[in-house]
């Protein structure tokens, strides 16, 4: 919602929507705090060893080579990448960076009475701000200053201390966070050898577990040394019960020095977003056979952050807090929550219900995902879609045996290409939906796809039925074959250009950098390859179309004239539009309508045209048709003035 909308909210906020079927606010309120703990030691800051073929290939290859980083620097760069990503995807989450084993010691300025020797808090655990990002960037751009900080201490830091430092940060900075995670990045598989310090590290790890802090390790192996987590780490890692299996998180041992950064980045990015369940639910496979599942939202449109009102006059910039007061219209007195009644407008008056009735009328029984039966997957049409799907995965929390039963169902659906049809109430008093349940290969699990009801289906518009002749279809097939993408649609290849621009500009302003001049838009078609592979075929199709149209007109001469609109003006787009294969594109078609509007503009008689004509013309230009007639006229005048 833009700030402008907020201005007007007073007028229509009374008509608040009580339930849109899917309450995501709760879901988003779960906040995450992630602390990077990066070990600093001689091996961690050692420059990566060059492999043989690199030295041979010499300078020729050098330009294309990705820069190489020490493990510690690679870890920091990962942290930076994650940081920037989170600002976009989860702007309210916290992050911090703690180095341990450093010669220098720095731990906040809170004057705490406990000290953490050889721990260096590079970035305090908080919602990131521009100065801290700038500082991190500056360090990464200035190797000398960075190596000053990354100087290892003579004696490694005590793990117990490191874990207690994390404990302190999480309890003071991120109290009440649902998700708290400690990412430990290290190549040292046996940090504490003497018994007493081992025990105290184990105790401190246990404390973190009781605080609901989850430790996510990223272990670095080298060609000469395979990281052995059983030496120390299995004593401090717990099965958090989040996975239904006893699996350790599958960390990829990073061996190849060259791609260490990429590997680390992909491992960390995969863990970057804490898994947040949308719901915990019963899945009913048949009468008396219920298993436990959890639902996750894996695909959801991410929009640019909304604007805020700010106050610039004070000493520092501040976000303005808006509070809404409800006033009774007649008496202009404030209304307290217990005076508010919900009512429906009906027949010019209101129909009231008690809170009890209000809840009751939406109640269709307990939340459940109930399978009614199965159909072939081919029955699910592309248009059977109303919103995003939900991923479901078994949970042993409430029912043991859920996982194996769920897995057996998934196997069967995959094998026989079936889908489940289900009655689906995701949470208490949510609107029931009918959903298709389809198995998923990766990630392993299933998806529920909400189906439309008959009430949700719109009529088809009336358009003349003209079927293309076969030879024209053949020409189009040639075009399509040439532009075939056999791998299908891969979302990660298409970053959202509007979102990226939004945040690049904000980043540049916040970090006081120069505004980037050009934005790469990966969603634009690759015109050069289209021309190269299909240019010829498109031309041939265009010729075939002209020919087909000539034949069509000859066979049905009358029909062509029939579809004028009832007002007898030239329809927007113009009958000649499809011929633009040969013509200049500029102008966008609708020649006559253009002339009419232009003439009216010149004579200042736009006002005399009907709203329909104005709207059609605006539409043909892709401009907004919102507002009153005066607005439309003004918009058209603006258009010509700026031309």
């Amino acid at each position: 919602m833009s700030a402008d909308k907020k201005w007007n909210s007073g007028a229509d906020a009374a008509d608040d929507d009580d339930d849109d079927g899917r309450d995501e606010t709760e879901f988003q309120a779960m906040k995450d705090a992630t602390l990077f703990a990066i070990e600093i030691s001689n091996s961690m800051i050692a420059p990566p060893t060059d492999d043989d073929d690199d030295t041979e290939a010499g300078s020729k290859k050098k330009k294309n080579k990705k820069p190489k980083y020490s493990s510690a620097e690679a870890a920091l760069r990962c942290a930076e990448a994650v940081l920037k990503n989170r600002i976009i995807s989860t702007p309210n989450d916290m992050m911090g960076i703690l180095l341990f084993g450093t010669e220098q010691t720095k731990y906040g300025d809170s004057g705490s009475n406990i000290s953490y020797p050889n721990c260096y808090l590079l970035m305090d655990l908080d919602i990131p701000d521009a100065p801290s990002i700038k500082e991190l960037k500056y360090l990464l751009d200035n190797p000398d200053e960075l190596s000053e900080i990354l100087k290892p201490s003579k004696k490694p830091a005590s793990m117990a201390n490191v874990l207690f430092a994390a404990n302190h940060l999480f309890t003071t900075k991120a109290a009440n966070f649902n998700s708290r995670r400690l990412f430990i990045i290290t190549d040292n598989d046996n940090p504490e050898t003497d018994k007493a310090s081992r025990s105290s590290a184990q105790t401190r790890a246990r404390d973190l577990y009781d605080l609901n802090v989850r430790i996510e390790p990223f272990f670095i192996s080298t060609p000469t040394h395979q990281f052995d987590k059983s030496l120390f780490y299995t004593d401090i890692l717990y099965d958090t019960g989040e996975d239904t299996t006893e699996n350790l998180p599958t960390e990829e041992p990073t061996t190849d020095a060259e791609s260490r950064y990429e590997q680390m980045l992909s491992a960390i990015t995969a863990k970057q977003a804490p898994r947040r369940a949308l719901f915990t639910l019963k899945m009913e496979l048949g009468k008396g056979l219920t298993i436990g599942i959890k639902g996750y939202l894996l695909h959801k449109r991410l929009d640019p952050s909304r604007s805020h009102y700010i106050h610039e006059q004070g000493e520092k910039l501040q976000i303005v807090k808006g509070t809404t007061t409800r006033m009774a219209e007649e008496t202009a007195t404030e209304v307290s929550p217990d005076q508010i009644r919900k009512a429906y407008k009906f027949g010019g008056e209101t129909v009231t219900f008690s809170d009890e009735d209000f809840k009751q009328m939406r109640n269709f029984g307990e939340p459940v995902l109930r399978i009614l039966g199965f159909k072939p997957q081919s029955e699910l049409q592309l248009w059977h879609n109303t919103r995003s799907s939900t991923f479901i995965y078994p949970s042993e929390e409430d029912y043991t045996g859920s996982t194996r039963t769920f897995a057996a169902l998934r196997n069967k659906l995959l094998e026989s290409k079936l889908m489940g049809i289900s009655w689906f109430i995701p949470r208490r008093s949510a609107a029931p939906v009918m959903a298709a349940i389809i198995p998923s290969v990766e990630p392993q699990g299933m998806f529920t796809i909400p189906l439309p009801y008959v009430d949700d289906i719109r009529q088809n518009p009336e358009i003349p039925h003209i079927v293309s002749p076969n030879h024209l279809i053949d020409r189009m097939q040639d075009v399509i074959r040439q532009l075939h993408m056999p791998k299908g649609y891969i979302p990660s290849k298409y970053p959202n250009p509007a979102l990226q621009k939004h945040y690049k500009v904000l980043e540049a302003i916040a970090l006081e950098e120069e505004l980037p001049e050009e934005f790469e838009d990966k969603t634009e078609p690759k015109y050069k390859s289209i021309e190269k592979y299909a240019g010829q075929q498109i031309q041939e199709w265009g010729e075939a179309l002209s020919q087909a149209m000539t034949e069509f007109r000859l066979s049905k001469p009358a029909q062509v004239e029939v579809h004028g609109t009832k007002r007898g003006r030239e329809p927007a787009g113009g009958a000649a539009a499809a011929k633009k294969v040969k013509k200049d594109v500029e102008g966008g078609g609708g020649g006559d309508a253009d002339k009419e509007i232009r003439a009216a503009y010149d004579k200042n008689t736009l006002n005399k045209l009907t709203v329909a004509v104005l709207k059609d013309w605006l539409n043909s230009k892709g401009m907004s048709v919102a507002g009153k007639k005066a607005d439309l006229v003004e918009r058209i005048e603006d258009h010509f003035e700026n031309k």
Binding site: S89, K321, R326, I340, L372, R410, Q444, A577
Partner: protein, 698 residues
């Protein structure tokens, strides 16, 4: 916008309508009114000014119509409601008038003429949908003299005539009344003939009432959401080889929302009694923090505000004039990015409602061009991937398009796809293998289905095949086809509102109409019992009792299985909680506590730490920390069946905050950390009212 509509309901109110017939517990009139009220309230709920209704009663005690003055053929006919938009006052007014009369005098055909007269005067020659609905039990007088003229008139004005009778025979519906009186039989016959001659509908009320059980779907006129060119290639590369087709886009699915409730206020005692409500207006005030101001905030005016965005915690001011630089400029377009095989398409990534794309309707060439595109996609079993901008400067979206070819209609169906940022990379353990701590990969495990389970599942799924079943609402459709399923919430809320509108004094809600629950349970046409029993045995799913879950605290071990409890013994023995590490130590100690006295002391210590934290908090800086301790304290007290200790502490804490830490108490209230309720521990006697009083009271 739908067409204007005028409907006259002609209702038989004769004394004979007050009789009970055919074993019904309702009188003929009550039975008839069920239908009438449903129709009227449906019209009212549409809220359209141009959908007007008039109601004419015949066999009424009085005579009140425009024709009776000059012609006494029109006695005992009353216009109960002139042609107008129906609102609540009309409903109330009509309710008063719709009772059985004391007479059986009054002619039904004359009433029809009165209805014709009303329509003619109201609609004149304008464009209207004209309807007359006659409701009767057919036992009164129907004078068919001069019916020819009336038929002519009905035809001339294109009036849709519907005649519905109580216990009229209808072989198609399968109803025939026994011992029908001769008069009624004659009337039925003549009325049927009348309907046949002017293309009207003739039926029995029972059928109509059955019909109204079925929810009505509202038709929305298709409105295009995009007009522009579907393009392949770009003129800047080679204008000769750019493919352009004029297209329009319309919604195919759009979730129909139930009516939304608005908030109103009861502002006085009087309102409370007569139920009148006041409109609410929202006013917004804007504040910024100010340390020196009372309440630590000051109001500011709109003129002192600017616009900005947040980048992390940092505020980035961007003035309205500068908005341009964050905007991503686009032009309305639908550009083809490429084509993908349909087979590998991951159906689950579709994000939005679906739309259809058709050739521009005034342009035959576009329609033919798009037809070649649709057929080619279909024959190659492919989908098109495109980049769509619906309006100038709207952000682009990626879409998938699939061909649809029906006998008289062709289009592309389009659904939005996610961008890179829209996909969350959560990790889930595989379901077909289990990896142990030592890294071994197993394919036999309690989490992996055994062969027996798999076979039982296969057979169960096969026995639940829905393909042979017909639609539960329309047998011509397949089972669970979207066209056969009604939105339960939408129709339920409409049903409830309409029922309450005509019976405002009713206390309870009507039952959910069974048609809305058709698809809520396994269809009766399937018989999977045997296979289900086998599956249940093989799956062996067990519910874990709630109590067992709580007891787990303190027993967990790290992956290596190391006995941490032993390590902790040293610490737990001391029974002193370190204020620098309160939560873990409290949890560890309470888990190992043997006696109630120990727990009491731990709760005491934790309480002191919480109060200390609040006391030393600079403003509200440490509140979150204290709240977290409080939550753990509460949760664990409940788990270890010591909720009384928590209750007494929270009472103490309330008085502690009353001095100058009231703001902390509001946090307690917000996080619902007050007295333990019976739902949390069955031994608690605290009622909701008590709990609320405790939260809000002084």
């Amino acid at each position: 916008m739908a067409d204007k509509q005028a409907t006259v309901y002609v209702v038989d109110l004769g004394a004979s309508m007050d009789a009970l017939n055919t074993g019904r517990s309702e009188t003929d009139l009550e039975y008839t009114l069920r239908y009438l009220w449903d129709r009227i309230t449906t019209t009212v709920s549409n809220g359209r000014k141009t959908d007007t209704i008039a109601v004419v009663g015949f066999r009424t005690d009085g005579s009140d119509n425009g024709l009776v003055q000059n012609d006494d053929n029109y006695t005992n006919i009353s216009v109960l409601n002139p042609m107008s938009q129906f609102l609540m006052p009309q409903i109330r007014g009509l309710k008063q008038l719709l009772g059985p009369s004391a007479t059986d005098q009054g002619d039904g055909i004359s009433a029809l003429v009165v209805a014709l007269d009303i329509i003619e005067k109201y609609c004149k020659k304008l464009k209207y949908i004209r309807n007359i609905v006659l409701l009767t039990n057919g036992t009164g007088s129907f004078d068919f003299d001069g019916i020819g003229d009336i038929i002519e008139q009905i035809k001339e004005h294109r009036i849709n005539l519907t005649v519905l009778g109580v216990d009229f025979d209808d072989p198609e519906f399968g109803f025939e009344e026994r011992d029908k009186g001769t008069l009624k039989a004659e009337n039925e016959k003549a009325l049927k003939e009348l309907c046949d001659q002017c293309d009207g509908i003739f039926g029995t009320i029972a059928e109509a009432i059955e019909e109204i059980q079925r929810p009505r779907t509202k038709k929305t006129r298709p409105v295009h959401s995009f007009r522009g060119c579907l393009s392949i290639g770009n003129a800047s590369v080679n204008p000769g080889s750019m493919l352009l087709i004029d297209v329009e886009r319309f919604p195919r699915t759009m979730v129909a929302k139930p009516p939304t409730a608005s908030s109103f206020a009861i502002t006085s005692e009087r309102d409370q009694v007569d139920g009148s409500l006041q409109r609410i207006r929202n006013t917004r005030t804007f504040q910024i923090e100010d340390e020196d101001a009372p309440g630590k905030a000051i109001d500011i005016g709109r003129e002192d505000m600017a616009k900005g965005y947040l980048y992390g915690r940092t505020i980035v001011p961007i003035s309205t004039e500068d908005q341009e630089i964050v905007k991503f400029s686009t032009e309305a377009s639908l550009k083809i990015v490429g084509f993908i095989p349909k087979s590998g398409f991951e159906r689950q990534i579709c994000l939005s409602n679906s739309n259809i794309i058709v050739g521009s309707k005034a342009n035959d060439e576009s329609i033919m061009a798009l037809s070649s595109f649709i057929h080619a996609l279909y024959e190659l079993d492919s989908l098109a991937i495109g980049r769509l901008v619906t309006k100038v400067d709207k952000p682009p979206v990626m879409v998938a398009m699939a061909p649809v070819i029906e006998p008289e209609f062709e289009c592309l169906v389009e659904v939005q796809l996610p961008f890179a940022e829209d996909t969350r990379q959560y990790k889930f353990a595989p379901l077909d293998t289990v990896r142990t701590v030592s890294g071994k990969v197993l394919d036999k495990h309690r989490l992996i289905p055994s062969q027996e389970l798999q076979e039982a599942m296969n057979e169960y799924v096969d026995s639940m095949n829905l393909m042979s079943l017909e639609g539960l609402n329309d047998p011509l459709l397949p089972f669970a086809q979207p066209e056969d399923m009604f939105s339960p919430v939408l129709h339920r809320i409409q049903q409830v509102i309409r029922a309450r509108a005509i019976a405002p004094d009713e206390d309870s809600l009507p039952d959910i109409s069974p048609v809305l629950l058709e698809y809520s349970t396994i269809p009766s046409g399937l018989e999977p019992e045997e296979d289900l029993d086998r599956l249940k045995q093989a799956a062996d799913v067990c519910l874990i009792p709630t109590k067992a879950k709580g007891k787990k605290i303190g027993r967990d071990k790290p992956l290596s299985g190391l006995d941490v409890g032993k390590l902790l013994e040293e610490r737990t023995k001391s029974r002193r909680i370190d204020k620098n590490n309160p939560i873990p130590e409290f949890r560890q100690m309470i888990a190992s506590a043997q006696e109630t006295g120990d727990i009491q002391s731990l709760v005491q210590q934790m309480g002191d730490i919480i109060k200390d934290t609040i006391r030393h908090s600079l403003a509200d800086l440490q509140y979150s920390k204290a709240i977290e301790c409080l939550r753990i304290l509460r949760d664990d007290c409940i788990t270890f069946e010591a909720f009384e200790l928590y209750d007494s502490f929270i009472r103490e804490l309330k008085s502690f905050t009353e001095a100058d830490r009231r703001d902390f108490w509001s946090r307690v209230r917000k996080d619902k950390l007050g007295l333990v309720l019976p739902g949390e521990d069955s031994r608690s006697k605290t009622t909701i009212e008590e709990s609320n009083r405790f939260y809000y009271g002084r």
